[in-house]
Symmetry: C2
Subunit: 207 residues, 2 copies
DNA sequence: GTGCCATCGGAACGCCACGTGCTCTAGTCT
DNA sequence: AGACTAGAGCACGTGGCGTTCCGATGGCAC
């Protein structure tokens, strides 16, 4: 994926590319994803317009609607397409550091360009049950499973009580972080992550 | 406030009331709030239209926009207007019961007609920093303070450790409940509340 | 190379809700 | 009674949505 050249403002100039080189298939997908993220970075989710994405991607609205039935689904795909490395599993040998590492990974994602996308996606998700199902499967459950793995490793080392290995407890970290992100503005201060770990999660999972 | 007569579908018939009895001041406010909640119950926040609220309230769009600059602020006011009794402070003498009582109070609110309003309000809040400030002050912080009071009483009885009397810990209950509400559909099962209390909050605050 | 055809880009369209004028009128205050 | 405020209805301009049409193009079979 090439470097995004324009990130400070939206682009809405319509140049005629009917005679230019025309992409299809994967190349077009990639261009649309890149344009979507660039627009998200530039104007945020609330102000993201399908037509602007199309113009930036040098594509047509028709090509967008042929693939995604709504803005939310486009953004969900675009974001999901860019987070292969977000689920790096920290394994420092210390449960507290692992948990903090997980939270920092999430926080970095939310503080970055994808954060604006996630924010808008959450807004749309709240209103749409089907989309909520997609988001839960793609974004939320993997996060919980990541925490559950960390807790399991901690339990194997004897740092975590066995009865703490529940979905409910593994959800606490992601839930609190997500809630903070939704209720406050980014960037999320590192101090908040440390408080979540030291005041809530560690007292909860320690022997 | 009178009983809402029509809750199953939206009303969008425009009858000329220029010659009819005309309300102003509090009576008009009350009619608009009632119509807003009725529309919320009927069609949900996402499908709520200012014009439909106006018609149901036998008011004009102008009267709405003269008072509120956006749908979100109207809904925020309407919801806030209807929750005088939501902050009843349970005092059963048992910390677990008090906490569970608080959560059940919130859950009842979210499962009722106001829940749809809160959901939509959260969606709007995510996108609007100013509105977020309003929501935090009006809805979120009072909830945290309620929990803090419960914990303080528990500490006075010797059921809660003194170091658990922090905003961070008092926020855990409301945050987890809110997160569940946003990510899942209502109604919120009582079992979820019990799990939050017994798996998370009580282990966290106990001596 | 040549023809075929799915797909592309662009443009125009109808639609719907928004938010704002404007006019007329009902209530309120002096 | 007269003046003034504020509400009701209506019409309008705006902007984004999602669709449809048309001409163009690139890949593919032959």
């Amino acid at each position: 994926m090439s470097v995004v050249s324009e990130t400070c403002e939206s682009v809405n100039v319509a140049i005629d590319h009917r005679k230019g080189p025309r992409r299809r298939g994967d190349a077009l997908y990639a261009a649309i994803f890149e344009a979507t993220l660039a627009e998200l970075t530039a104007v945020g989710y609330a102000e993201l317009k399908m037509e602007h994405v199309a113009n930036r991607a040098r594509a047509s609205k028709g090509s967008l609607y042929r693939r995604w039935s709504s803005r939310a689904e486009l953004v969900a795909d675009a974001v999901h397409h860019t987070l292969p490395g977000c689920c790096a599993k920290p394994d420092t040998g210390c449960t507290r550091e692992d948990i903090l590492g997980c939270l920092r990974g999430f926080a970095n994602l939310l503080n970055g360009p994808s954060g604006e996308a996630v924010r808008g996606l959450m807004a749309e998700t709240i209103r749409d049950a089907d989309l909520m199902e997609v988001v839960r499967t793609r974004f939320i459950e993997p996060g919980v499973n990541l925490f559950l793995d960390v807790l399991r490793r901690g339990a194997a080392r004897g740092e975590v009580r066995a009865t703490a290995l529940t979905t409910r407890i593994a959800s606490v970290g992601p839930d609190l972080l997500r809630q903070y992100f939704l209720v406050h503005r980014s960037p999320i201060p590192d101090q908040v992550l440390i408080e979540i770990v030291d005041e809530v999660i560690m007292p909860l999972v320690r022997l």
